[in-house]
């Protein structure tokens, strides 16, 4: 299997705090890697480093064998590193259709066009249509995003990322804030289209972060049976949550 995304000795310091401490991971093509860890383990910081929102103090990030450590966030997206956010980051005044059309246009490299209307390229509408249908957003496609229900906005959050046709998709807590009953919908959609699923149940491998460093790594079975992981993450002797 070829490695798509790799970090080498990634380190981030904020003053005396080290939220990411010497993290070296490799993600293979087609892999579904779950990144888990207790609160404050540095999961979101690692995603921010990978996507370029934060600049690492040391270490490097490689995509398809090329160093992208110094690349601006929007340029990484064009190379295929796309993320979703734990807290929805959407365009409130635009409609879901406009949001997706813009993301698709951006991916096609035509988002700088300033004369022809949005969607005048024949490739945009079909791509939007597919995404809207997949994410059950067709009936609300013309409503301003700020008026959508939370569950719909959560779906749009992921749909917007997929509109960029990622090579590596980083889902930061995709079901955060989604009620138990509606979670399955999100997983069904994501799983059906992009072969990704719920941590422990469907991820093919797991990386455990503790205090910013890689604590353990391996298959789902080996991690869930690892006594050290149980002790640190699941809290041995206590009721395991999630």
């Amino acid at each position: 299997m070829t490695t798509v995304l790799e970090t080498r000795g990634l380190l981030k310091r904020f003053g005396g705090i080290t939220p990411t401490n010497d993290v070296s991971i490799q993600v293979e093509k087609g892999a579904r890697r779950a990144l888990i860890g207790p609160n404050g383990a540095g999961k979101t910081t690692l995603i921010n480093l990978l996507t370029g929102v934060l600049e690492p103090t040391a270490g490097s990030i490689w995509l398809d064998g090329q160093d992208i450590t110094q690349l601006a966030p929007h340029k990484r997206v064009r190379r295929g590193v796309v993320r979703t956010f734990q807290i929805n980051q959407l365009f409130g005044e635009l409609t879901p259709l406009q949001s997706l059309a813009l993301a698709v246009s951006s991916h096609l490299g035509i988002s700088g066009g300033w004369w022809k209307p949005l969607g005048s390229d024949a490739r945009v509408a079909p791509a939007c249509e597919t995404l809207l249908a997949q994410f059950h957003l067709t009936d609300v496609m013309n409503q301003p995003v700020k008026h959508l229900a939370y569950g719909k906005r959560r779906l749009l959050e992921i749909a917007t990322a997929l509109a960029c046709e990622p090579r590596v998709l980083l889902l930061d807590e995709p079901v955060a804030g989604v009620p138990e009953g509606e979670r399955q919908e999100i997983f069904d959609i994501v799983n059906a289209q992009h072969d990704m699923d719920l941590v422990f149940n469907f991820a093919s491998s797991v990386t455990v972060l503790v205090n910013g460093a890689v604590f353990a790594e391996g298959s789902v079975e080996s991690i869930s049976n690892d006594p050290r992981v149980k002790a640190v993450y699941l809290g041995e002797g206590e009721a395991a949550h999630g």
Partner: protein, 322 residues
């Protein structure tokens, strides 16, 4: 498949009231020949406000110094007519170009910081230019203003027209420039570029996360808005044959902001509606009570903001229970 493509295209479709507005503008020239001077002022203010709407309403950049570009366009047009050649079309292109260059230079100042920083930085730039125009009196005439600007005739395919005292030629010229600029701006805001401006206004973080270069877009829209503001300033200088420090003054930046508050932001025509209401109010109230017109304008603004534009422009909803 059709529904999605149509829904996307619907955003850029011409609405009936856009044609109506265009008709009203053209008819105003035909039917109100005695009011050309006032109408000319309104059209210039409208164009200035449209340029502010591009950065404020679409890209979310607040500015209290937009007069910087209006003023530089004004002085550029006046100086060009006085020192180089009096042709209005060439002068207009020069005014637009000079304002665009200034806009591009200043755009780097508004990329960083918060809204408050941007308010201060834009205010500062306009103040600097005001004092420069004041100080460089050998060129600009300083506090006396730039006198002796004589415009040449307006050359058109239908013949050359002299600028008359009644302002007929001036208003036709201003109207033409206004309509051309609004049409270009209309293409711009409905394009992917225009939509991406609204996206980065709503959420810069996400805009970058779908691969949009936020800073490059801000630079471009700030430059375009500066160019259009420069056109408005150029029109003022060319149609009045005069440029004074007043074009850089703070009250001008504040006034254009007020116009957008009245007309609304983010749909391109707010500047035009706002300018019409603002100037007519000004004209009516100051004819009635010359000293206290600010009082009534202030009262109007308070009511407008408290009641809301939506409600105020829909009288049939006033007595309906919500």
């Amino acid at each position: 498949m059709k529904a999605v493509a149509q829904a996307l295209r619907a955003h850029a479709r011409w609405r009936w009231w856009e044609f109506a507005l265009l008709a009203v503008l053209l008819l105003s020239w035909l039917l109100l020949p005695g009011q050309s001077l006032l109408l000319n002022e309104i059209a210039i203010l409208a164009l200035f406000a449209v340029s502010l709407d591009l950065i404020l309403g679409y890209a979310g950049i607040v500015s209290l110094g937009h007069a910087a570009f209006f003023g530089i366009g004004s002085y550029a047009a006046a100086l060009f007519a006085k020192l180089v050649m009096p042709d209005p079309w060439v002068g207009m292109i020069v005014a637009i170009a000079v304002a665009a260059v200034l806009g591009a230079l200043c755009s780097v100042l508004i990329l960083r910081g918060s809204d408050l920083t941007r308010l201060m930085v834009t205010l500062g730039v306009a103040s600097i230019l005001y004092e420069l125009a004041n100080k460089l009196d050998w060129l600009t005439g300083g506090a006396d203003g730039l006198q002796g600007v004589v415009m040449g005739p307006l050359r058109t395919p239908f013949g050359a027209f002299e600028f008359d005292l009644g302002g007929r030629t001036a208003y036709a010229y201003t109207l033409l420039v206004l309509i051309i600029c609004v049409l270009v701006a209309r293409r711009l805001v409905h394009s992917p570029f225009g939509t991406s401006l609204q996206a980065l206004r709503d959420n810069r973080l996400r805009a970058a996360s779908i691969g949009l270069s936020v800073n490059a877009r801000l630079v471009v829209v700030y430059t375009v808005a500066a160019a259009i503001a420069g056109a408005a300033g150029g029109l003022l200088a060319q149609t009045t044959g005069f440029a004074s420090l007043d074009v850089f003054d703070f009250h001008r930046s504040a006034e254009v902001m007020l116009v957008l508050v009245i007309g609304g932001t983010g749909y391109l025509y707010g500047g035009i509606f706002g300018a019409i209401v603002f100037k007519l109010l000004h004209d009516l109230i100051s004819a009635w009570t010359p000293q206290y017109w600010n009082f009534w304008l202030g009262l109007f603004l308070v009511i407008l903001v408290l009641v809301g534009r939506e409600k105020l422009t829909r009288p049939w909803t006033w007595w309906k229970k919500s």
